[in-house]
Symmetry: D3
């Protein structure tokens, strides 16, 4: 590794409350506690792989918010950029499915710290100091108009400083409720970004990307790149869902010249499906930072990251670099290490 | 839906004690608690789908019996028809298998309220007031001669009132120990019933149904219907068992004219196999109440109900109507709802 | 059964601490407790099948050591030959994997009772009294030179008394750290043994067995038998590992004249992979004791034992004889017994 | 009992998430789930004592809200008056203390169904049909101005129908944030009520009650009664707090003529302190409904209810009438019933 | 210690299912599993103190019965005298109280192996071979007339062989339901016994013992001894119950000449109250076997045993001899041993 | 606060495995996991109170060691001074007592990183950079002669740099097994220290302190100060042990001129007794850093810290500064904060 990248991730930090042992909510007498969020999951994965990573969020310093921050520290993520604010910690409830019963999610994140974030609250010059890579997702601008403005403020400043900016589109139909059309904010955001991850639905709704009749999911990166030629790389996450516990995934990336697809990862016994896309995003960032000339390696690293995530409880991929590399190289799948 | 059917289910209410985490009984330091029973499971499923459902059983009002009744109330089942009696709550122990180790069941239901039920104990006119559908199973007559008499008493009164009567044959080899041949009671019971669910073994032993050499499992409904031409519908539950955690199921029904079979539901990751047949029975009742002209829809609804049950812990199918319908229509299998 | 064999197993008795619910070590707030060890697992399986079985080990009589011995008693294993000694109970930590994340093991067995065992500590004449079968594994000689000497002492005395001696080679790369080449001890040990179980790697490293270019895993027994013609039977355990929770296994044995292989056992939903080889060894011993003229039955019994182990939590196969026989005969795979 | 009172309780229904085993929030990997709320706890206690009780609340019909309602049904509370509305289920987090570490509560109930309740949403004539007793608390008017208006609307209608109206003042300093002085709403509410429970702090802040220099806690009922002579009964709950797990309680009531105090209940091993006041309120209501001429019995029944609550996990007193009566009569304290 | 006594205990072996964390039955989603019974608890305590102890019971060899026997083996109790029989394992449910909420017990032991025991089923000469001490309780004759006969058969044979016979009266009002007056069986049983433990109630009801007006609990042994002068020792267990979790106990014994009372043991934080009397009985047997000339030591050992039991989960006192001795000598109460 | 002290703690970091729910080891099927150690507990407490705190230890970087370090990071302790080494993570097993059954500890720390620490392994100049306060305990020199030398090396260098050096004597009879008399190392260590905490036993054995006939526990600080007049402060921890769950504590300190004693803290319901002394040590350090002129405040802060620790699960006091201050000031003992 020629350089230790310093990555700053920016987004909400959430409390996840999930049912144990595949119980329904109404059958449960307890909820498992995890802390995460699309961008925090990226930070945790990168940090556990040895990268210097910090997190920027706004959250209340009550016992839940403090516990959430401690979880980031536990994973070696620098939480100094984060600051106090907002009435409550964003929360979501997860009823964990199995087989032909899908998981259900109930978001409860109104009035969280990030939902009420405003421009001017963040000293961007300070938090971006020495940062090489800035990562955000389409969730923050979906929370409120103020949050969208603050996000665009940060992305533009990062861009102007020559920092690499990556975005996971992450369209969520239950958000974007404040009135503005998503494209109003997402198009200028992508114009100030360098790397984008997103699926067909994300691109259509958030960016207005046009697809041709025969376009498959693997053509998504190409079309986004055509729409935003300034982007360095565009990637997409392919997922086939056979049941709540059996999926297959693959990753595609393009630099506008060539398109690379990883092998398919079959996962007949998934432990935890949430965060699979965030782990893929983390894999892309790591791959582009360290294998940059080798996009084939990048997509297989990203796919391996995502696959491994499905075997780990919680929102975040918590593993060592070596475990991703071994899976990428097809070594010893599932053997006992002894 | 043109009519809100009022269904009365009649049978035992049992305590189930099962081992957690696929442990053997001798490895367990605790048992999970669930309440159920073949007919109660039908009542719970119907009630959670919005039907007006009540339950008729006899059980002691000790802390176990009261908890069992509260569980029915929790699921919106009217327990007013139920009454106090018997020495103990019927119980069964379930050692939960996995892979090539099958589950083991140890029944402990002697001297329960239903085993010592007698004719004259129930004011049938009162409990059947405004009832549209009466459901029982072959388990009650298997408990004791007195229980068989009381069951026949009720079924005949229901029939005489024009109430639709359904029976799940549910042959259990460990019951029927009191001396009478099963057919002595089951044949007159079926003669007073309208709808029957049962497999080849159930029909042979309980009804003396004759099968032809080449008859498969899917021919069972036809043969029962031939034997009891007055029956409106006869159905059977097909199950292929590859391991304790991997089964396939399908449902067949006949009206004597045509036979319909649902698609096969493959379940490679079953969470809880018990109650799969009861959920199918509930699905049949719901289907015949609401889709009656469309037997193809009925069997696919029943199959979907049963399939969904295998993803839910406990004896009973606890889900909303919409979840069965989505599975029946093949939507979004196992996707996260967010 | 013409004879109730008395089997003495000799080896370490270990504490296993494993993560619950497939959590990573760093996510766990508790460890599950199990007691086992390669040779103890054999003793437990044999004892639960009705054999008269005793265990010889050396361990400290602190609360952990006493609990470990009580666990053997619980399983009807006679612990009278075992005696107090050593600073600590050998321990290992198991991070339980799933899917594409393999399990990780961290051994912590330095200074255990068996590691510091010395010749002369055991009154072999007494512990071998009335013993028909003596079983050990390649783990004991791997612990220390003293342990290797003591092991050889016992094996030779057993041999000289006409007791059948079996060895599971069980090569562990993290052991054998005390300087001597493994073959220095393993070759004379095998020369004093009658029956050997081992894979290609075990044989190459521990015995220096030579393989031909096209030899597959199923040729291992033949080659070992060629090298040690005095051996009565040589067996090997075939395992295909698709993921941490999906393996296939089979068993091969040779008497030098003919080679027999069991059917393949497919295990797509393994509950606990550890101890699969020990259960196979127990199955071989039981088979050779009771079906001796029928090696085909022996390998299928051994394969069934091993397969069943993967559905049982902990290191040891805890089941009744009847369960292995039913699986061997392919009956009722995974059906509910009710 | 000469009359089966029909009681309607009106208030929020909350999700409580509490730490298991006296862990701190940051140490917990799960939260225990309970449903409750000051007025719901009253309804549950009354219903389990055999009273006909119903609950009126507004909450979203997501999986949390539905589970909360099912919990009321489980306890025989009629939920028909409750209706759908609001963005989220009111929630609170409870870090359970022990010894010298007190419990901590973090409310998270903004935008709940009751916080956004408005006048006109409830058909009071319908929900009050056949109701004998209407119970509310000072928490509802503390949520928002709209909620205060709606509460006053209901209380006045109930009063006008001759229904007995009781109020638990329940001052919560973290609520009442919407700008109006509490007395603006609480004074007219009490003017339309018949029975009030409250402490010195509640009365001062919510009602502006004046106390004399030497007034003790036991003088509170007298002073409130002097301020509001129309009230039939005024009661207060005395609590001495030695530690998080050791309190003493007593109950005082006055009819304006005489004042009665219960014995002191010493509780050195409290299991769950929350809901102690609600259980006392339930005891008062039950007592005034059934022992009305005997205020000494009323306070001792109320004190016993409250005492018993501290031995039961969750917010609500879940017990049978007989258990309160036995404690009130000092029988068999803590003996095993066998 | 001059002699290693061989003690045979005779009685039921029960499954206990208790609520975790002081939950009510209706709040519980699991029951903790323990195995015990008045006489089995005595056997377990004696065995863990190093005595040679065996157990004689009749129970079904289903998975519950086998697990119960394994639990005795785990505690070094010889189960060879026990044999198969009866329809079900006797069971009881325990709702664990706290503070002013007492524990509740629901027996469910009809048709157990011991309830249907008959004379002639046991080969008394064989089971009593080499036995020094035979212990039974008043529970067995309370189960059924047949059980009473079989018990008397055994006690008389033991007595005739010169074996010391001890009886714990153990009156249970919910038993003795088969019609005979308890004294019909208990009087001849005590006439054939040497040592009796019992309280005032036990003696009055089971033996018809007459007490004088001023007799306290501590006079019970004297009165029983007067009634049955052949008895060597008579003891009683004094218990003051302040709450479900706070009791005080003491032990009194008489040889007819002098009466000795232990100190009082105060237990403000009891973990598990069940089996306190059985542990005292075990302490008496151990004391009389080993300290016989020193009755003061006997009662303090018995009191210490009982006290220690209240700090151990389950029915049986599981501890080492040294722990009782240290408590008896007042050493290091509650200090950390490190 | 005029200055943010930077404190470096130096010692082992241990894995603690304790039994849940007051079970005996042999009853447990799992162990709770905690990380701690005398000096680490001090670091964690100080860090959570806002101090800049770092930890210096040597441990293997296997999954246990890494998890232990992550736990420090979680608590905001800087782990940069710690480094890889040693064969295993020091471990201890805790059987958690209750009432009259004391807790038992089994140490298993041979060959840990600190046991095999040698002089020269630590770059003291680097780790002590900018450090104001250096804390160690008498446990490190008790592990091995090499560890004692390395400890003395560090203490002397710290002293020479003008850093305040504190020592908790912490005598452990099960350590100090390597041959040297404890005083050989402890006397020179104390000669290079500024502040000492210890009890009578610690001082006698480790330092050879002479006591007068009538000296009580509260005279310990005075005698140590007389022996080592260069010490700035000497403190002792008074503990009265009534049972495993009921202790009383107090703290005494002297500066050689005056002696101050805190109030007594009564703890009748202790949750976790381990680490009570370490929390007191942390309280002393904090107190001397921030209230230095006010020794009365120092001892009451230290006593409050220790008292609070007994209400928190695990080895370390995890709380906010404000909680200690509130307890010190006697506010709101055990009240619910809502």
């Amino acid at each position: 590794m020629n350089h230790n990248f310093k990555t700053l991730c920016f987004g909400e930090l959430l409390l996840r409350l999930s049912t144990p042992s595949h119980l329904r909510v109404e059958q449960s007498t307890s909820f498992n506690i995890d802390y995460g969020g699309a961008e925090a999951n990226v930070a945790i994965a990168l940090s556990n792989w040895g990268g210097e990573t910090s997190y920027l969020t706004r959250l209340p310093f009550n016992f839940l918010g403090k516990s959430a921050l401690k979880f980031l520290k536990y994973n070696n993520v620098d939480t100094n950029p984060s600051f106090e604010g907002g009435d409550r910690l964003g929360t979501y409830y997860l009823e964990v499915g199995i087989g032909d019963r899908g998981s259900n999610i109930e978001y409860d994140r109104a009035n969280s710290g990030m939902s009420t974030l405003k421009t001017g609250m963040i000293d961007w010059d300070k938090v971006l100091e020495n940062v090489d890579w800035f990562h955000y997702s389409g969730i923050t601008p979906a929370l409120s108009q103020d949050a969208a403005k603050a996000c665009l403020e940060g992305v533009r400043i990062a861009k102007s400083k020559g920092i690499t900016v990556s975005c996971d589109l992450n369209y969520r139909s239950k958000l974007w409720k404040y009135g503005d059309a998503p494209q109003k904010w997402m198009v200028p955001l992508i114009e100030a970004s360098d790397i984008v991850l997103g699926g067909k639905n994300d691109a259509s709704i958030l960016l207005g990307t046009q697809f041709q009749e025969n376009d498959g999911y693997e053509d998504v990166p190409k079309r986004i790149k055509e729409q935003f030629p300034h982007l360095k790389y565009v990637a997409t996450n392919l997922r086939q869902s056979f049941s709540a516990t059996h999926n297959r995934i693959s990753c595609v990336i393009t630099d506008g010249i060539e398109t690379y697809q990883s092998r398919w990862f079959d996962m007949p016994n998934m432990l935890d499906r949430v965060g699979g896309g965030d782990a893929l995003m983390a894999g892309l960032i790591y791959g582009l930072q360290h294998f940059k000339s080798d996009l084939d390696k990048v997509v297989n690293f990203a796919g391996s990251s995502s696959c491994l995530k499905h075997s780990i409880k919680g929102d975040a991929l918590i593993c060592e670099l070596d475990e991703v590399l071994r899976l990428m190289e097809g070594q010893d799948s599932g053997l006992v290490q002894r």
